[in-house]
């Protein structure tokens, strides 16, 4: 299994180069083979999906509503089992593994924290998953405080979760998954309904976790975040993978994005507007846009 270590992120690049040489030979942590899935009595939600998620990637999964994003990520921890094909998580076939088993490898943060919060205090909520794993009290204590610190809720450990704001509850739900120290983290629309500050905090957290060497998968509608943080983008359309490439490559294929009902991030739009003036780059962040613009102007 992948041990979280201090690895630096390499922006704008993805895949093998992210992973240290030793890891190059290592297998994909999530392997999806000919995966098809249909909800009971309904048309298929996923059709012959093939994917390899490598350790240490920061993958954004985008697509319009009902394109199968959430259905896909729910396969990664066995909440849904394939109708056809296989999903292998760290070598375990999700068909024959319990969700509680897979939850030690894949942490899953849901969009709505209120679906999971049941405890009487922040501390209890965050440590619940660890207590289920029957860890010794010392590790529970350590991992829980680390997780609460990571989401800056460590000052509120005795507070009742209902007394927290919506953004804080979202962070608490995240902390309860972080505490499990899983090598893979799935965030299902983590920034929906959050204000700018909370969005920023959640994204910084995700980036920090990625820098620690964890594999982060994020389902999102927020193109600006995709452009800025992801190392790989998977575009879903009608239950199929429409495109699987680096953010730059994806945003260069504007027609494909349009066809899937997605928009370009603001920075890329500006760059598109500058096309007729001979600007051909696809910058992903504001800083990159400014930099490339300045070089273009100077030359």
């Amino acid at each position: 299994m992948l041990a979280p270590d201090r690895r630096r992120r390499n922006p704008g690049d993805w895949g093998a180069s992210l992973v240290p040489e030793r890891q190059l030979t290592s297998e994909a942590i999530i392997k999806v083979r000919d995966l098809s899935y249909s909800y009971p009595g309904e048309i298929s939600a996923l059709r012959s999906v093939n994917l390899d998620i490598l350790p240490g990637e920061f993958v954004a999964i985008i697509g319009s509503n009902g394109s199968g994003k959430t259905t896909l990520v729910k396969q990664f921890n066995g909440l849904l089992k394939p109708s056809q094909g296989h999903v292998l998580v760290d070598g375990l076939d999700t068909r024959s593994s319990r969700v509680s088993e897979l939850s030690r490898i894949v942490g899953f943060v849901f969009q709505n924290p209120d679906h999971q919060i049941f405890a009487y205090s922040v501390w209890e909520e965050a440590s619940f998953g660890l207590k289920l794993q029957k860890l010794d009290s010392e590790s529970v204590e350590r991992q829980t405080s680390d997780a609460l610190k990571a989401v800056s809720l460590d000052g509120l450990r005795d507070r009742h979760p209902r007394a927290l704001s919506r953004g804080q509850r979202q962070r608490l739900a995240t902390a309860s998954i972080l505490a499990l120290n899983t090598p893979v983290l799935v965030l299902d629309e983590p920034t929906t309904g959050q204000d700018y500050l909370s969005r920023r905090q959640i994204m910084e957290l995700a980036v920090g976790l990625h820098a620690e060497g964890r594999t982060v998968l994020m389902v999102t509608h927020d193109m600006a975040l995709v452009a800025e943080y992801a190392t790989r983008v998977i575009v879903m359309q009608d239950g199929e993978v429409a495109c699987d490439a680096s953010p730059k490559e994806v945003f260069e294929r504007e027609e494909m994005l349009r066809a899937t009902g997605l928009d370009l991030p603001p920075v890329v739009k500006i760059a598109r507007g500058l096309r007729e003036f001979g600007f051909s780059e696809t910058p992903l962040t504001q800083a990159e846009l400014v930099e490339t613009l300045l070089t273009a102007i100077r030359s």
């Binding site: 509680s100 709505n112 679906h115 999971q116």
Partner: protein
């Protein structure tokens, strides 16, 4: 898609076009016939008839997915009745010699002091028919909600009057809203189940104390969010002047048509025939049905 998906299912079918009251009569007819018979074959016929009505209403089978839970109820009935069934022993006349058919013993013959605790066929059969009654009723009940537009149901309920008394609109509203919230709560339940499972909670297992703890992780979020959404609903209602003293009007009127007369007549006929068959001729009633002689 929530597990329990009982809400108005838009479709143009004969059943959909019927007056809500006709469908209420259908529900009552099912209740009466299911109560009249207790022989599994007759109850199976009742269930088949209900499935026929559901097919006529073009309701897809997936709407009844939750029915598998009833399997446990049927099983429970079969086992408990098989063990504890006492027919002539406790009440009634013992006119004829009756041979109980012992299926097997819970305490087997090879065990010390065995064989004891017989499971008898008659009891199991009676228990099975009790289970089938539950199946019949829970299969028929959603048909009313699935095939009647909520506003039609509201309109129908508001039309009921006894003398000058009518059902208060608040009561009607609570009634129809409760139906509307079944799928919502079911969906919340499914999502909570997913969220807890993904942090390692294992539902199922044999340790009862652990199971109680685990169930709390499900019910607390579902109950809190239900209460919160009920609170939100009251606010939304207040802002739209719910309860303002006015005479209500309705966009859709429900009409009693000729088909309703026909169906109602047919249903009453069926119920009467079934009652006569069961009570006067003992058809569809097990000969060892426990009953008190007055």
């Amino acid at each position: 898609m929530p597990t329990i998906d009982i809400q108005y299912f838009k479709e143009d079918s004969f059943v959909h076009r019927l007056h809500p009251f006709t469908k209420v009569i259908f529900e009552i007819a099912v209740l009466v016939t299911a109560a009249a018979f207790n022989e599994p074959l007759f109850l199976a016929a009742v269930i088949l008839a209900i499935i026929g009505v559901a097919a006529l209403a073009k309701i897809p089978a997936r709407k009844f997915r939750y029915m598998w839970v009833l399997l446990y109820i049927v099983l429970f009935m079969v086992i408990t009745q098989g063990v504890w069934f006492t027919s002539f022993g406790d009440f009634g006349d013992i006119d004829a010699e009756f041979e109980w058919l012992t299926l097997f013993h819970l305490w087997p013959a090879w065990a010390p002091g065995g064989p004891r605790i017989p499971v008898i066929f008659e009891g199991a059969n009676y228990g099975f028919s009790l289970g089938l009654r539950v199946v019949a009723i829970s299969l028929a009940f959603p048909i009313l909600v699935l095939t009647t537009h909520p506003s039609d149901l509201t309109r129908f309920l508001s039309q009921i009057r006894i003398g000058s008394w009518r059902i208060p609109y608040n009561v009607i509203f609570v009634f129809t809203t409760a139906f509307r919230y079944i799928p919502t709560v079911s969906r919340e339940f499914d999502q909570t189940l997913d969220a807890q499972r993904s942090r390692g909670v294992h539902f199922g297992g044999y340790n009862p104390i652990r199971q109680i703890k685990v169930v709390a992780t499900l019910f607390v979020p579902v109950l809190t969010s239900s209460l919160l959404s009920a609170h939100d609903l009251t606010l939304a209602l207040e802002t739209r002047a719910f309860g303002a003293p006015t005479e209500r009007t309705f966009i859709h009127e429900v009409h009693w048509r000729r088909a309703d007369w026909l169906v109602t007549g047919l249903l009453i006929l069926i119920v009467v025939v079934c009652l006569i068959l069961a009570n006067s001729y003992g058809l569809g009633v097990l000969p060892y049905t426990p009953q008190r002689t007055i």
